[in-house]
Symmetry: C2
Subunit: 345 residues, 2 copies
């Protein structure tokens, strides 16, 4: 089992109110590099920032890393449009540029070429099973973009507790208009959808997944609505091999029945894993923030959690405390505590 | 514990009779990329070649990978002058160009800049312990080059059963002459030595090691005479922190007392590990070729073997058979069997 992380950027993230992945626009460009370094080394090495929200919610990379430190898994990080340098080990699949704002004419001008190169890489991987995650600020908006362009009636999640969904819809509508497209105009033409209103992580993940599936590797898309969007892209590309989606309980809690309906529509098996932050024996700001609906998913978090054997989730939570502490987040930190807690069912 | 691999190339390898690392000059340029892919994925993914000698001796990367598949360790592969593309995940420390032929004026014109960037990366690593290996065809000649330039009376090993040492000495003498240097002229000036007659892997490994040591990470140089050369470079740079060298019994058998004397001279702890290929329960061409003195070391092989807990070496050998088989090397293969066997003491 290998966990592959596609790390990239899109200027769509710079639109006010779109993303929680980074405190300021300048720092947000470093978020995917920091995530990659946290996954690879346990903390940022070259990136000048640790992605933590103002309330003390760390990037999901910290959870994925905690799982890695607990159960161990091999990784590969693909440069899918990084905007800033990183010393994380990255796989190069040729030049992948940061994505443009979806409101431009073209969001990912070379979507087809990226898909083809990623496909070649996916085909070359000898792994039996691949779990593919992403880190790209603004990714839920571009997910909504391609879903709308494909004509798939599926909503998206958010890294913010209050999902600015109407705002995202307006951005996507502007993006489609700028590309002279109606909603649904790209049905059966997934690369057109990405080119118009997607991001560079999408053709990377879709290409690796399609190539891997073709060569007999099992593929799990590790993520929430962004991976639903990739699954839709794959289905519209005619890929009918079995596909799984593994996400967190935080995404499932927000999306409710929509998530299952989307997976059914796209013929994907769905795995939801709850890290049990609500049951943790100590109060910890990072876990409380996840329980309050921040971050929710990303950097293959839900997929990584699905790898944890029964009975080891408490170990993962303890290790998550260690990772948080290494990232400078103490249990008590945060300042903006509120009474929101992880709810039971 | 992380195993870091510096992978690069030098045109010195193209000199007739210098290196066994690759069947032809064209394919040899792909050897470090193939080694990196074998370490990362278990087989070449993008490199068009599997480094195997005409007699059936696979690259030491296959042994290192077998150890990794048995005991598990984290890796980082640094691009230290790769000449061909790879889909192995690599750390970029800025542009590192392939090295020139040591007989040119300058072998590594930007040795100082490479060292500085590698140093910064080494400092940033949070690991407690680092084991640093290399893959660079022609590397024992450039090792002899810098040792001679530093005035260190230490010989070098070879990936060929019969070490073409006199040939290497002539190449190094030509290289020093081309740089207007006498043997020993670079004592205390290690970067000058690399610039004149070294290779790009040397300032990368020395820089990462120096940076890691400065930030409190324990460093083991994983290799034979090439790592002796790096240890000499570090000592001449004034680095006096504890340093270990871990190599294979194949290098130790060839070098005899020289190896211990060199380690003593450079104040390095020496660990020699025997993979027990002579004791393996089945006859296997790859193990026989190592026993006959081919390859001997490289791609952190000796260091990786030093990580194998007591009682697990048989598992490593069995896994090595699996890796060989994946690389297309059957136990019986080779054609040029001879009666040489692994000798006891």
């Amino acid at each position: 089992m290998r966990v592959l992380l596609a790390a990239g950027t899109t200027d769509t993230a710079l639109i006010e109110g779109i993303s929680a992945a980074g405190a300021s626009p300048e720092l947000m460009a470093h978020t995917p590099a920091a995530d990659a370094e946290i996954l690879a080394y346990g903390e940022p090495t070259r990136a000048p920032v640790t992605p933590v929200s103002p309330t003390g919610c760390p990037t999901p990379a910290a959870v994925t890393r905690a799982v890695r430190e607990t159960v161990g898994f091999d990784i590969a990080i693909v440069d899918a449009g990084l905007a800033e340098p990183t010393t994380a080990p990255t796989v190069g699949i040729g030049d992948v540029a940061p994505g443009a704002d979806v409101r431009e004419d073209e969001a990912v001008s070379d979507a087809g070429a990226i898909f083809d190169r990623a496909h070649g890489y996916g085909t070359s991987l000898p792994d039996d099973d691949l779990l593919i995650g992403e880190t790209i600020p603004g990714g839920t908006t571009t997910a909504l973009g391609v879903l709308t362009a494909l004509g798939e009636p599926i909503g998206v999640s958010s890294s913010l507790p209050e999902n600015p969904l109407e705002h995202k819809r307006r951005v996507v509508d502007e993006g489609l208009a700028a590309s002279d497209l109606e909603p649904g105009a790209c049905a059966g033409a997934p690369l057109e959808a990405i080119r118009a209103v997607g991001d560079p992580v999408q053709p990377t993940v879709a290409g690796v997944a399609a190539g891997a599936l073709e060569s007999g590797t099992g593929v799990t898309l590790a993520g929430g609505t962004q991976m639903i969007a990739v699954a839709a892209l794959l289905r519209h590309a005619g890929v009918d091999a079995p596909l799984s989606i593994a996400t967190t309980s935080f995404v499932a809690d927000e999306r409710g029945d929509d998530l299952e309906a989307a997976c059914e529509r796209l013929d994907c098996e769905l795995t939801v894993t709850d890290p049990g932050f609500a049951d943790h024996e100590r109060d910890h700001v990072a876990m409380n923030r996840y329980c309050a609906g921040e971050a929710k998913e990303g950097v293959a978090m839900g997929g990584a959690l699905s790898l944890v054997p029964d009975g080891q989730m408490a170990d993962v939570r303890n290790q998550f405390e260690t990772v948080c502490s290494r990232l400078g987040i103490d249990a008590e930190q945060g300042g903006q505590h509120d009474d929101e807690e992880c709810g039971g069912d």
